[in-house]
């Protein structure tokens, strides 16, 4: 507008130098346009920087972590030697249970020797003990569980797909090389040669790692056995609790505040506080959880129930704010129409306003849940950042059993000494990301399908 008016006035004054037309661009307009172009460029730059950072992050996670979905196994025929496992020979489960995992290790060594002899593999300078080190330390435990499940299996020769040790597994994922094995105290080049020959003979193979999703965590000496089972279950339990508590409480609170509560100082105060709570750092909720739920209420440590309660507190403000926004978005005409045909206030809310606001409420809830799923800090204080190997039981009693959580597992694994855990941690991040993307997708679909605009 100014462009048009200024030249007109100057033209009227008759000055030749200031004469211009709307068709030729004057300096002021040029400056405005170039500033706009600059801003666009800046914006584009910001976006591409963000995209670049995201791509870098994803590339590093995926290049480190995708290999954790593959696992190397070695197939051995193990003779469950009665002379070792049941000296008395009466198959008494109590006596058999006294044989510890240390008693099962020699069986594996013997099976390895036999397998090598049968396949005609011989490596210079590799002891039988070192050859058996190709097998994970988890294997004796697996054998022991198998035998204890049915003692009559003693004496049989059973084929087992045993986990290869972390270093051997790493060899097929490019983490360990002949050159690094030279320097590595936990694996020798001869062991890698043996692994290569076993692979040629079809005894060693790499395949999809289902146990990564089902197995519990493992100690530092057996990264190959570590899985996300307990963590996924723990996270699922917590999400159930968060959903069951925060959705009804959040929705009830918002409906009351939005539709029924009188507007006065008190409700204003509540509103301000809810907005503030949404911005409180999550660790504060952890401290609160420790003080209230564990020390005061006496709930157990490391339990999903406490984690769920703490995360509920954290998620509530998010849900309340989202719910109130979507209730507000329902036009007053709907309420007026309902009231006009004689519906009570409650009927108008529950029959008309709430169903129309539901897509927004659910979107807010899912986003709140996704936030809670990725949270570690509050769990640190309530003892969930821990080494947990036992699966929690079935709900509801299982809510009180110790469990871990997905982000916690990532945090734990990044602290371990064995480099194989770096891969596991990145794999766990991928799993967590997939869950988050899925939840966000559901939120988007819900919004797209059911949202109505007025």
């Amino acid at each position: 507008m100014t462009d048009a008016t200024i030249p007109a006035s100057t033209a009227g004054s008759g000055s030749a130098s200031a004469r211009s037309s709307l068709l030729t661009v004057d300096t002021h307009t040029r400056r405005r346009r170039s500033s706009e172009a600059r801003f666009r460029l800046l914006g584009l730059l910001a976006v591409s920087l963000g995209v670049l950072a995201l791509l870098g992050l994803l590339a590093s996670i995926f290049s480190n972590g995708l290999s954790s979905f593959q696992q190397t196994y070695i197939r051995l025929d193990i003779h469950l030697d009665a002379a070792r496992l049941d000296k008395a020979g009466d198959r008494n489960p109590e006596q058999i249970a006294k044989v510890s995992t240390f008693g099962y290790a020699p069986l594996i060594q013997k099976a390895m020797e036999e397998k090598m002899a049968a396949a005609g593999i011989a490596i210079d300078g590799l002891s039988a003990n070192a050859a058996a080190e190709l097998i994970s330390k988890e294997a004796p435990a697996e054998l022991r569980r198998y035998v204890l499940a049915d003692p009559s299996r003693i004496g049989q020769t059973v084929p087992f797909d045993l986990l290869a040790s972390g270093r051997i597994d790493g060899y097929y994922k490019g983490r360990v090389t002949m050159a690094s094995a030279e320097l590595d105290r936990n694996v020798s080049p001869q062991q890698l040669q043996l692994a290569d020959q076993l692979k040629e003979a079809g005894i060693l193979e790499t395949r999809f790692n289902w146990s990564f999703f089902t197995a519990p965590d493992a100690s530092d000496t057996r990264p190959e056995a570590a899985g996300l089972g307990v963590a996924i279950l723990g996270s699922a339990y917590m999400m159930l609790i968060v959903l069951a508590l925060s959705l009804p409480i959040g929705v009830a609170a918002s409906i009351y505040l939005e539709e029924f509560a009188p507007r006065n100082r008190f409700t204003d105060l509540i509103e301000v506080n809810i907005a503030n709570l949404a911005a409180v750092p999550s660790i504060v909720f952890g401290i609160l959880g420790l003080a209230v739920f564990i020390n005061f209420a006496g709930l157990p440590q490391s339990a999903p129930v406490v984690g769920g309660l703490v995360l509920t507190l954290m998620t509530l403000p998010t849900i309340i704010i989202a719910t109130r926004a979507s209730l507000k978005a329902v036009p007053p005409s709907i309420r007026d129409a309902a009231l006009g045909v004689g519906a009570s206030k409650m009927q108008s809310v529950f029959h008309h306003v709430l169903p129309l606001a539901m897509p927004g409420i659910l979107t807010g809830t899912i986003i709140g849940l996704a936030q809670a799923l990725g949270e570690t800090a509050p769990l640190l204080l309530i003892g969930m950042v821990a080494f947990v190997r036992e699966y929690p039981g079935e709900p509801p009693a299982g809510f009180f059993d110790p469990a871990s959580a997905l982000p916690v597992q990532v945090y734990n694994w990044t602290q371990r000494g064995d480099p194989a855990f770096v891969e596991r941690a990145s794999g766990a991040i991928i799993v967590l990301l997939v869950f988050l993307v899925l939840m966000n997708l559901i939120a988007i679909v819900l919004r797209r399908r059911f949202e109505r605009r007025w």
Partner: protein
Amino acid sequence: MNIKALLSATAVASVAFAGAAIARDQIQIAGSSTVLPYASIVAEAFGENTDFPTPVVESGGSGAGRKKLCEGVGENTIDIANSSSRIKQSDIDNCAANGVTEIQEVRIGYDGIVFASDINGPSFAFTPADWHNALAAKVVKDGKLVDNPHKMWNDIRADLPAQPILAFIPGTKHGTREVFDEKVLIDGCEENGAFEALAAANNGDEKAAEKACMALRTDGASIDIDGDYTETLARIDANKDGIGVFGLSFYENNTDKLKVATMNGIVPTTEAIAKGEYPVSRPLYFYVKNAHLDVIPGLQDYIEFFVSDEIAGPDGPLAQYGLVSDPELAKTQEMVKNRTPMGPLN
């Protein structure tokens, strides 16, 4: 929509919460992140070889673990605190105030602290005196106490490699830092004569001199790492001139990336530490709340299992992972069996 269903589900859930028994059958352990790998190895083996569930092992630091142990007696408090340093009188007082009177002190073995650099760099042969000269804020040069002038390792001693001084040492919240201060900085300070000079500067006050020995230069040559050894390793990976402080077991898991330095001419190995030849090591402990021994199922079995020869002995899985086995293990086994609580600190 189905608000009613949701409401009733919540009601059912809360009734279920109230009804569920919260008796604990898992052992709860918390404390030092240095002891954590060992404790989790034992916990795993214990779960596999007994009918008891696998204990839950939390990390969070020695001090935090001891504090949690001393919170009181009862099922919602922990049973065992792992610690990479000895319990303090303040912890014992705190425990006593909360009714935790009998505590067992179990020494599980020794942990070596090693100095390691990038595998492709030069080899280092240090003495504690070198480290004090490299990192202290004030050192003795030509008989005078001066601000640390050393830029390169060969400024300190001509036979050290010509590499800029850059050290990644554990931050002050780590138990490892205490050992580093005591066994490296203070010992080195005494060896290279700075201690005397500092004591003289403080009018003969030895406490103040010790404190001054531990004061580090702030020009970026010494960097505190508050994270774990994995962070130190990543720093060395990014800056090949760096020398990091690690636990022996961490180094043994990463021998393909790190080159270990000798200290007083001794290569850190479990044998050298067991013999007491390698100077930088410390005992590791766990503390057991005796009041829980007959309440939490399997607690006594777990402690006995932990210190058994099969586990903590020189050929056990802990020694394989880098723990230096305690030569006096038999004594510990006897003590654990008799549930002997620890006496006053001496």
